[in-house]
Structures are given as C-alpha cells and as structure tokens.
C-alpha cells in the first residue's frame, strides 16, 4: 500500500482544470459511471480514463465495479490534506475519544 497522499500530491492532481471539472462532477453526482461521465462532457473517453486514474491514485475518488460498469465516487477523506486544522482535529478527537472509551473499558478487566 502506497503512503497516504500528501498536500502536494492532492494539489498537483487538482491543478489541471479539466481533471478538477471531472472531480467536481463526480462530487455533484454522488456516484457516477465512467460512461456517464464521458457522455456528459466533450472530453474523450481515453482522457476521462486518464483523469480518473490520476484522481484514484491521489486518493480522491474510489471505484466500485458492478458487472461491466465501474462506478466512481468522491473519497471525502482524500480532501483531508486541504481542509486545515479545524477539520483535521474534529475528526482526530472523535477517533481518539472512541479509543479512550475503549481503553476505559479495558482498564475494568485488568
């Protein structure tokens, strides 16, 4: 498994306006197939595939196969490097407090 994409990777991936448009479209649609993405734009199918691959490698979209179709959706956590401390720590503390609760229960058994 590759290292989690960092801010620079995410920025580089989204710097391309066409790719960013593809990403925003996926975000609006919740989930969309590659075919539907191509049908809705003037971008060629190979170009859309290439953008989808880049978005996937940057951790920004995930794919789900269903028969011959591949469905894409935005990975919210892929945007994490962009959103700053407040968002980062909101998630961080929620996770850590879950762990604290777990630890407290384990202390009972010791």
């Amino acid at each position: 498994m590759a290292a989690a994409p960092q801010l620079n990777d995410v920025m580089k991936t989204l710097a391309d306006p066409t790719r960013r448009a593809v990403f925003e479209r996926i975000a609006r649609e919740e989930e969309i197939t590659a075919g539907a993405l191509v049908a809705g734009t003037r971008v060629s199918q190979p170009a859309v595939s290439q953008h989808l691959r880049a978005l996937r490698e940057a951790g920004l979209v995930s794919e789900r196969r269903e028969g011959r179709h591949v469905h894409y959706r935005v990975r919210r956590q892929g945007l994490k490097p962009l959103v700053g401390w407040l968002e980062f720590y909101a998630e961080f503390w929620t996770e850590r407090l879950d762990k604290l609760e777990q630890l407290l229960s384990e202390m009972d058994r010791k």
């Binding site: 801010l7 925003e24 975000a27 945007l79 962009l82 401390w85 980062f88 407090l97």
Partner: protein
C-alpha cells in the same frame, strides 16, 4: 479582526471520574489512546506529543500543562505545525481543556480544543459550516493559492 474557533466534544462515560482522570494523566495510558508523550500532571511541565508527520509539519505537538485539578480539570497548550504552509499545516497555537463532572453512574467528560484562528484557517471554517460541499466549491481558489511558488 482575529476570530477564534473551538472544537467541543462531550461524552458521558460509565466510569468514575478518578478512573477517567488516570487515563487522561498517566503517560503510559495516554499513549494508548492519544499519542506517544512525556506528560506529567504538574502545572508548568513542558512536554510533547509525537504524531505522524504531515506535509511540512513534523508531527510534533509542543505542550505545557496550564491547569491541573485532579479528577476535575486539565488544560494544556497545544502548538505545532509549520509556518511554511499558509493553509493546512499552518502554525497552530491552541489549548486543550478536559473537564470532568461526576454524574449518576459515571462521568460527563468535555473536551474543548480552542484557538483555531482566522484568517490562517479560513478555508477550514468555510468547509465546516455548510458541509463539505463547500470544499469542492472552494477548490479553484485554493488550488490557485497553493500553486503560487513558495
């Protein structure tokens, strides 16, 4: 004008305050749910938390115990980040306060992480309130800001 925001999380725990206090103040226990640390429950004690580095931030949080009232209240400063990044990873100068209140059958625990300041973290505020959709809408502006040479 500098605005400051907080994150507040409250939990009702089926454990007595003195036990919750131990989990919050014994270094070996803290390490199990929060991060590796050299904490001591003494006002004025300086210590660090060590997390995974992210971007320009080396993952170190510098702290100092500001208040320590056993089974009741614990507060420490929480600073970290890197000045080289104006958005994510900008320097954070904040405080974390733990408040414990005995309740029937356990403890009401409140965590407040205060001191998220505008404008350094503007984008984070935008993203928080009307939902994450704003993140997507702000991408263009953000990409433009970040693409400027350092």
């Amino acid at each position: 004008m500098t605005a400051s925001r907080s994150i507040v999380i409250e939990r009702r725990l089926p454990h007595a305050p003195d036990k919750v206090w131990r989990a919050l103040t014994e270094d070996a226990l803290i390490a199990q749910w929060l991060m590796a640390n050299d904490f001591r429950p003494e006002v004025g004690h300086r210590f660090t938390f060590r997390a995974k580095p992210m971007g320009d931030w080396d993952g170190t949080v510098q702290c100092e115990v500001l208040a320590c009232e056993p089974n009741r209240l614990l507060r420490y400063s929480w600073t970290g980040g890197a000045a080289s990044n104006k958005k994510y990873g900008s320097v954070l100068d904040s405080t974390v306060t733990w408040t414990l209140m005995p309740v029937d059958g356990g403890t009401h625990l409140k965590m407040e992480h205060a001191g998220f300041r505008s404008p350094d973290n503007d984008f984070a505020y935008d993203a928080m309130s009307p939902g994450w959709g704003r993140i997507v809408k702000g991408l263009e502006r953000l990409v433009a800001a970040q693409a400027a040479p350092a």
